[in-house]
Amino acid sequence: MNNRAESEILIKLELPADYKYLNILGSLINGILERIEDLEEPENLAYGLQLAVHEICTNIVGHAYEEKPGYRIWLEFRLLNEPLRILVKVSDTGKEFQSDIETAPDLENAQVHGYGLFLVEQLTDSFEYRRDGLYNRWTIEKALTISKKDI
């Protein structure tokens, strides 16, 4: 099978900003990655990507929308070539993120908060936030490495 995304593959998902339905992200990401053959460490990759997207979304529900009901989250998943990678954009219309907040947790002393953005950074190859009018835009990118064994 040829793993080059034929052109650019784009999948969009829109869901309620509610912790209850964030499990759908994991299902969807697994579904997308399933169709890429010979992925290196597919389990770690799927789990890590799932967790990164999930952390961005729980922050949106909890911080940007302050757990108020009725709000939405928009996601775009893109498979891109050269090198093969997945790009995920997450948008919301909640409070603006203050990027000067100290986000690195003190790993030597376990703490209750602050692991979310740290995990996103650790689990992705690039990670960006930008305010765009009424929208917050979070973008992450992760390489999809194909194992060499079959080549």
Partner: protein, 114 residues
């Protein structure tokens, strides 16, 4: 004659967590733990063997429990998940150093000193 009896009861509570521990399910765990803390339990085994997914909200509940237990001379022992991808996250966040970790609940329970 005088007979003095000292009765020592050590209670170790094991919680097996299965499925997803995330921002949606973490409150369920938290309220279970509140209940146990109200009963003055200070020794816990968190058995993550069959945990499929855990996020930072789940971790927050575990750290809160750890701090609370250690303040009262208790402790929380962790049984590592089977899933390698989940173990990797525990290493990334150094949770595997902050908590005493074990491969089985039995080993975790035996590790409590009396």
């Amino acid at each position: 004659m005088n007979i003095n009896v000292f009765d020592i009861v050590i209670r170790i509570v094991t919680l097996e967590l299965e499925g997803r521990l995330d921002a949606f399910t973490a409150p369920q765990l938290r309220s279970k733990l509140d209940e146990l803390q109200n009963q003055s339990v200070i020794r816990y085994v968190l058995d993550l063997t069959n945990l499929e997914f855990m996020d930072s909200a789940g971790m927050a509940v575990m750290v809160t429990l750890l701090k609370h237990a250690r303040q009262q001379e208790g402790d929380v022992k962790m049984v590592l998940p089977k899933l390698e991808a989940a173990r990797r996250i525990l290493r990334l966040t150094r949770f595997d150093r902050v908590f005493d970790t074990f491969e089985t609940a039995e080993e975790a329970r035996k590790s409590f000193s009396i």
